[in-house]
């Protein structure tokens, strides 16, 4: 039986396809990098990242505490110690407001506080958020 295959048609080696894949990967990496920069610029444009924080001197300065409008950053993995520092509130404020009796406070996570009080973590977060809003004399959520 004659071999009908065109001798001029050679199969491309696997390395050819791997090179193509590498080029595609390189392009994807560049696109992702552009997305990263774009994300950052969007945050800058929305004034969520202060221009001042970009300067070399600002890099080593501590950033100031958050305000009432940023209580949404509170998550169940946070400890009360961290939250107190984050918002610049006295260490015993949340302990008194929420009547926390756990001796580990403030080294106690919101998740642990929720499970000890048999409440959902979302409810616990809201309790903490409202307590902080009260501290800043803001209306509750």
């Amino acid at each position: 039986m004659l071999n009908t295959m065109d001798p001029k048609k050679k199969r491309r080696p696997i390395s050819y396809y791997i090179k193509i894949a590498l080029i595609v990967l390189g392009i994807v990496l560049v696109v992702l990098f552009i997305l990263l920069v774009r994300n950052y610029l969007m945050l800058r444009h929305a004034n969520l990242i202060s221009r001042r924080e970009l300067s070399l001197s600002a890099f080593v300065q501590k950033h100031g505490p958050l305000g009432a409008s940023e209580v949404g950053v509170i998550h169940s993995w946070m400890t009360f110690d961290y939250i107190n520092r984050l918002f610049g509130i006295p260490q015993d404020y949340l302990e008194n407001q929420l009547q926390i009796s756990d001796s580990h406070y403030p080294n106690l996570t919101l998740g642990k506080y929720a499970s000890e009080n048999n409440i959902d973590t979302v409810v616990a977060s809201h309790q903490v958020q409202n307590a902080i809003l009260k501290y800043f004399n803001q209306p509750a959520l």
């Binding site: 894949a21 990263l36 950052y40 945050l43 080593v60 996570t109």
Partner: protein
């Protein structure tokens, strides 16, 4: 958020630098932990004054290097036994991989630090093929300074919005890993082709 990341962040806030050292070390040895995302968050914590940026970087670098050395040392000590038991030298691919890793040890060790789990696999392979200890330590250290510094630095700058960037980090590490694997495969395939020409 990654289901592993949430408890890690709690441990980080509770046990601070001890947790940081432990998690980074275990991650470098090979546990599939979201270490880069944790460092991103740690950068944000540092920006809020809760952690020291430079102290965190120093601990992350040391723990990373020690973890990488652990993987390297395990196969350096018991590598010959593993190769014998698994009859790895009978597999042509392994022989070529060994040659490739020996000839490009520096660049392989350096680049795989940015490729997530591939870093731990490279540590084991580097010990197995007996990459010189000095070469391994030098390039491992340089990359282990750059990678956590980048994650901490980005976290520091973006602050509370660090979680917006954590998925991108994971994707970039995965792309690095795939790219490196493909690069190694091409090099091996070229060597095979050269041998049979």
């Amino acid at each position: 958020m990654d289901s592993l990341l949430t408890p890690l962040l709690s441990y980080l806030l509770l046990y601070r630098y001890v947790a940081l050292a432990f998690v980074v070390y275990i991650g470098a040895v090979g546990a599939p932990l979201p270490v880069n995302e944790m460092l991103l968050a740690l950068g944000a914590f540092a920006s809020q004054g809760y952690f020291s940026f430079w102290g965190s970087l120093m601990i992350a670098v040391i723990a990373n290097c020690l973890g990488d050395l652990t993987g390297y040392a395990i196969t350096r000590k018991w590598g010959d036994w593993i190769v014998r038991v698994l009859h790895l030298r009978k597999a042509r691919f392994f022989v070529h991989l060994e040659e490739e890793l020996r000839s490009d040890a520096a660049i392989t060790v350096f680049t795989t630090r940015f490729a997530g789990s591939l870093s731990s696999i490279t540590n084991l392979l580097a010990g197995l093929v007996r990459v010189p200890l000095g070469t391994f330590i030098f390039y491992d250290f340089i990359a282990n300074v750059i990678e956590p510094a980048a994650a901490l630095g980005i976290g520091y700058v973006v602050g509370n919005y660090w979680s917006d960037f954590s998925n991108l980090f994971t994707i970039i590490a995965a792309i690095f890993a795939v790219g490196i694997i493909m690069f190694v495969l091409i090099r091996i395939q070229r060597k095979i082709m050269k041998k049979y020409e």
